[in-house]
């Protein structure tokens, strides 16, 4: 029954830009502090103040435009969007309307990590605007309290075409955008604190139809889960209206997580008339060629490119590549290690990449503090970590020894070689000496030797253990095994 209908979904994603100061004034763009610490007469909407736009905010916006293959408009204009609300002291928000800074472009999303399932989600535009203040309604019964630290913090709004068909796709798109903005240092992507949030537009139509029906808008979704759940709820609600032949009302709705439903916030009849017009206080936003060139040099290689490189040039699996590229700092660290080890050309790059990737994913990632790796300090820097991997690549230490050396590296600044020496963790390759110990062990356990020779070859493990335990330091297990097999096979 549900296959009869499909959803048509578009997203409007708001990202707070990582600038030091606000969009149009010099007060600090930080609101994780005491209320009303960072307030400029301009942020408070005092008469006589004049806005001047932040150059760094332009650069960050251009980065996103480049990353999404958008057309960068050399000239765009600021517009005033009017509404009255105490969190907006000027009575209008500075935004962009008719001529935004970026138009067109697309984002590629991949479902289930399979590149065969890559889909392009087209963008309508990216425009710049400013955030509003924060209202607190539940502290006092008769009043609302206002904090303007957030007032004037620069935002970009990324608007997609209605190209999305499922809540799952919407969620993946949001994740992809979050990964991009974090890679590019555009936004910290903290959805819980609202640095990244989205509104979703959704309508339902018979599957296969190309018409666009009446949509509703769900406001302020600040988690992937809420986005997916709200859209799923809204699809079911609209489908059941359609089946009852009732119209879908044009309205703005809010997701109520506790009740698990969307609720009408206001209908379009009461909708605001924003009366947009070009802001006479601000000259056009001009993107010079030199500014654009500077930004291009500051672009980093994006997750999709890196996954392609890891899989095709370095022979890693798609899964491993995705784990390694999820956070830019991890991907950078991984690549640093690989390039340290590539230099002397001793080992093939596939072997290096595999060895670094395995150790990194199994032992290093868990040592990162905090719940995400953005700006995360790696306890062991990539140069020192590469030295450890090199010892492994040269088979100079066992995999067990590598782990214990790494544990030690976490608490001391010693080079892995020093640690290996101090703790006698180098694999011993002196066949003559090992052979001597092997002979001793076989002599002591002549009864078991007989059992082995009678066909109980599983005893090799026992002999291995005896030799390893008896030998001072760590003999290379491969040599021990070879010697045992050789000696046990012969009757001498």
């Amino acid at each position: 029954m549900k296959d009869q209908f499909e959803a048509v979904i578009g997203l409007e994603v708001h990202c707070q830009l990582l600038t030091e100061s606000k969009a149009f004034s010099g007060d600090k763009a930080s609101f994780q502090s005491e209320p009303n610490q960072y307030i400029d007469p301009l942020s408070l909407g005092h008469p006589g103040t004049l806005p001047v736009y932040n150059e760094h905010a332009v650069k960050l916006t251009l980065k996103m435009g480049l990353a999404t293959h958008s057309t960068i408009n050399e000239r765009s204009i600021f517009a005033r969007k009017h509404y009255f609300y105490p969190d907006l002291p000027k009575g209008y928000q500075i935004s962009q309307y008719e001529q935004p800074i970026c138009t067109g472009g697309y984002i590629e999303i991949t479902e289930g990590g399979d590149p065969a399932n890559t889909r392009r989600i087209r963008l309508i535009r990216i425009h710049v605007e400013e955030d509003a203040g924060r209202s607190i309604h539940d502290a006092e019964s008769e009043s609302s309290l206002l904090d303007y630290n957030r007032s004037g913090v620069p935002l970009i709004e990324i608007v997609t075409e209605p190209d999305l068909r499922t809540p799952q796709e919407a969620q993946i798109t949001m994740r992809t955008i979050r990964q991009l903005v974090r890679y590019l240092d555009i936004c910290d992507g903290n959805m819980q604190e609202g640095s990244l949030r989205c509104d979703a537009n959704i309508s339902i139509r018979p599957t296969g139809s190309s018409e666009l029906r009446q949509k509703t808008e769900i406001k302020n979704l600040n988690s992937f889960r809420f986005l997916e759940r709200a859209l799923t709820y809204e699809i079911n609600r609209q489908v059941s209206l359609l089946q009852k032949r009732q119209p879908v009302a044009a309205e703005t709705r809010l997701w109520d997580e506790e009740a698990g439903e969307t609720r009408s916030m206001r209908s379009k009849e009461e909708a605001h008339d924003y009366r947009y017009f070009p802001d006479p206080d601000l000259p056009p936003l001009l993107v010079s060629e030199s500014l654009l060139r500077t930004v291009k040099t500051q672009m980093t290689s994006l997750p999709a490119e890196r996954v392609a490189k890891y899989t095709s040039d370095w022979g890693l699996s798609i899964h491993d590549s995705e784990v390694l590229t999820a956070e830019r700092d991890v991907a950078d660290y991984f690549e640093d290690c690989v390039s340290h080890l590539i230099v002397d050309g001793k080992y093939p790059v596939e072997q290096i990449a595999k060895s670094v990737a395995n150790f990194l994913m199994t032992h290093v990632l868990r040592t990162l503090k905090g719940e995400d790796a953005r700006n995360e300090e790696f306890v062991v820097d990539s140069a020192r970590f590469s030295q450890l991997i090199e010892l492994r690549l040269g088979d100079r230490i066992s995999s067990t020894a590598a782990v214990s050396i790494f544990e030690q590296m976490l608490i001391s600044a010693d080079a892995p070689v020093t640690i290996a020496e101090d703790r006698a963790l180098f694999q011993i390759r002196d066949t003559a000496k090992i052979s001597h110990v092997v002979d001793e062990v076989l002599m002591q356990h002549s009864d078991r030797v007989a059992t082995y020779r009678a066909g109980k070859v599983g005893l090799i493990g026992f002999f291995m253990g005896q030799v390893m335990a008896k030998y001072p330091g760590s003999p290379d297990p491969k040599i021990v095994r070879a010697l045992l097999e050789q000696k046990l096979g012969s009757n001498t």
Partner: protein, 95 residues
């Protein structure tokens, strides 16, 4: 094409202004006169003219991203009709 009383009422609502019946009628007449004057422009063919948003259109001004505090919280709050010492206080608004 006269401006209707309903249109004036709507614009007044959007601007949070309240007028008496008589004022609304007067405004409608005055607005109509202004529009009549501007309507003169419709005599010109502007299909090839790019809408002008600014008189000076060939420069952009950006500022460096630098924190430059100008006023303290106490100074800011001193202008407010009501505060609790940290927040601005306004009559309860719930949308």
């Amino acid at each position: 094409m006269a401006i209707s009383i309903e249109e004036v009422t709507r614009v007044a609502e959007l601007a949070r202004l309240r007028f008496s019946e008589e004022e609304l009628r007067r405004m409608a007449g005055e607005l109509e006169k202004i529009l009549e004057y501007v309507r003169k422009l419709e005599e010109i063919d502007t299909s090839d003219v790019v809408p002008m948003t600014h008189v000076h259109d060939d420069f952009g001004t950006l500022r460096e991203d630098r924190v430059e505090p100008r006023i303290s919280r106490d100074e800011a709050l001193s202008n407010a009709p009501d505060t609790d010492g940290k927040f601005f206080r306004v009559p309860k608004v719930i949308e």
